[in-house]
Symmetry: C2
Subunit: 122 residues, 2 copies
């Protein structure tokens, strides 16, 4: 692959990792898939997350189009979060990560005894 | 999906993100794909990485089986790094991240005007 094409590819991969990476984002999405929708419920269900960090992560997830924030008029006013249709576009990425991650755990336990070096120009 | 299966899946995905995530790891792998193999060369080719961080990241990449460290007797003694065959197991993950990341950039620019909320139990 040419260097510029390779850099372009790396940028797209970095964008993807930035959008879904970090300690909390996938945990928040999974909690929402499990039916947790309100701020306080989310905070209770995700071990160790502070309200400040949760608010910031929810904002980022909203900016990335994965969730939307709904304000339901009251009283009491209820704020809840929903996964968008767009969040389903992550399916193929999450499937690939899942398959590789599960296999990788097995390989780490085996200690990579059979890994072979490859040449850079392969 | 049941809650325990969902958690198991999340753990595998987190393992994968941990192995390849962060600011530097993919950049190091890409630099090695481009033919950069020695410590000083790697540090020069990756903008902003300190020698301490590079050493730590190379160690982690080695522990994860993606690279191997070779010491070639001298004088001078030469230390260089090679991608392993196992590093190629990342191909499907990187392909999925690349495709999604490239598409995501387009969606971010469009502002997600067409994203639809979905129900959690869908």
């Amino acid at each position: 692959m040419e260097k510029s094409a390779c850099r372009h590819r790396l940028n797209a991969i970095s964008d993807a990792l930035y959008a879904i990476g970090g300690k909390w984002r996938l945990q928040i999405i999974v909690a929402m898939l499990e039916g947790t929708n309100r701020f306080n419920e989310l905070q209770r269900s995700i071990d160790g997350i502070s309200s400040k960090v949760l608010a910031s992560e929810l904002k980022d997830l909203e900016l990335n189009g994965f969730i939307r924030r709904l304000v339901i008029d009251g009283p009491p006013v209820i704020v809840q979060y929903e996964l968008t249709g767009y969040s389903h576009s992550l399916t193929s990425v999450l499937d690939a990560l899942y398959e590789w991650g599960a296999q990788h755990k097995v390989e780490v336990k085996k200690g990579f005894a059979s890994s072979q070096p490859v040449l850079n120009n392969e």
